[in-house]
Symmetry: C3
Amino acid sequence: MRIWNGRIELETRGHADVLDLTAEVERLVAGWGIGSGQGTLFVPGSTAGLTTVEFEPGVVQDLRELLERLAPGGAAYHHDAAWGDGNGHAHLRAALIGPNLGFLVRDGRLVRGTWQQFVLCDFDNRPRRRRVLVQAIGTGHPEP
Amino acid sequence: MRIWNGRIELETRGHADVLDLTAEVERLVAGWGIGSGQGTLFVPGSTAGLTTVEFEPGVVQDLRELLERLAPGGAAYHHDAAWGDGNGHAHLRAALIGPNLGFLVRDGRLVRGTWQQFVLCDFDNRPRRRRVLVQAIGTGHPEP
Amino acid sequence: MRIWNGRIELETRGHADVLDLTAEVERLVAGWGIGSGQGTLFVPGSTAGLTTVEFEPGVVQDLRELLERLAPGGAAYHHDAAWGDGNGHAHLRAALIGPNLGFLVRDGRLVRGTWQQFVLCDFDNRPRRRRVLVQAIGTGHPEP
């Protein structure tokens, strides 16, 4: 059993920017030579989240519009009244989506659907530099 | 420390079908003989999700109605306009609920509340055959 | 590679009480001496959830108001009609937020943003005693 650590660094545009992390996660998994294992993606910060979607422009736009309905930008938030950040909606969206995503590796491959991508959603109200930390625990490939 | 891999295969009815996975997960955990460990359930695909609920008909129906309010079937989605799938709402619901669920095993037992079940929600607009992949890492039972 | 088990016990006020678990999780991680590892927080029960937020009164109040909009207390729920519990809304909120939270430890420290706290949300309609189970798998610190 081994442990592997990596990170993905991204420049986002904020404002519910949705970025596809799949290729980077698969590159890490392949480079580490995991046979079978489980891992966690975690994004530090309270205005971003991680989930999976079919990463095509229609779904991405639908997701942005859903979150705009659930927690509209420009509504009255206690956070903004107290701190003047103007990103109260971003905090709510991030809490709903969650900062972590668990993943599995089986037979040397990241488990996912063909049209299922791992994405970072940056809900903040400005461009951000983000780090997504990636860790996996498992056995090497080929398995003993 | 060991690693165990399993899978649960299900036929769903789609349309926000909610299926109880608890007995299958507990059967896997018991069969593997885990003493203490942590695991991940992951459903490949972008129109299904995993969470926990009290699996009784009232909560299940309430959950289906909540998701119908948040992302109504039959509303106008960019995904449907582009691809004609008619399941744009399913993609949104799945992204909210998330494709993964972490679990713990302590003293040889799956950690959960008495009235807390592990469920798969299939939001797609047709019956589907689904695989839920299950992996755990931990120590054998009884612990050394 | 090692495995560590802990628990956090809390008295909540229910009614969407939001409690900061960060100091307790960091105390556990430091006490275990983890160098690099991943863990899971899991709350047994179907009316509570775990996520991260900036734990300041404004965000906490905004989150409570968001969940009141999404699944209002006092609305008509099938669960309440069948069981008379009056906490149908709590079940829905818990299913949305989810009962588990994955975390990472790197270089002996819990990975999180400066203003990002790990929180338990208790949505039940009465004060509750809650247990949050914490488990981590990883290597000791300093790493070999």
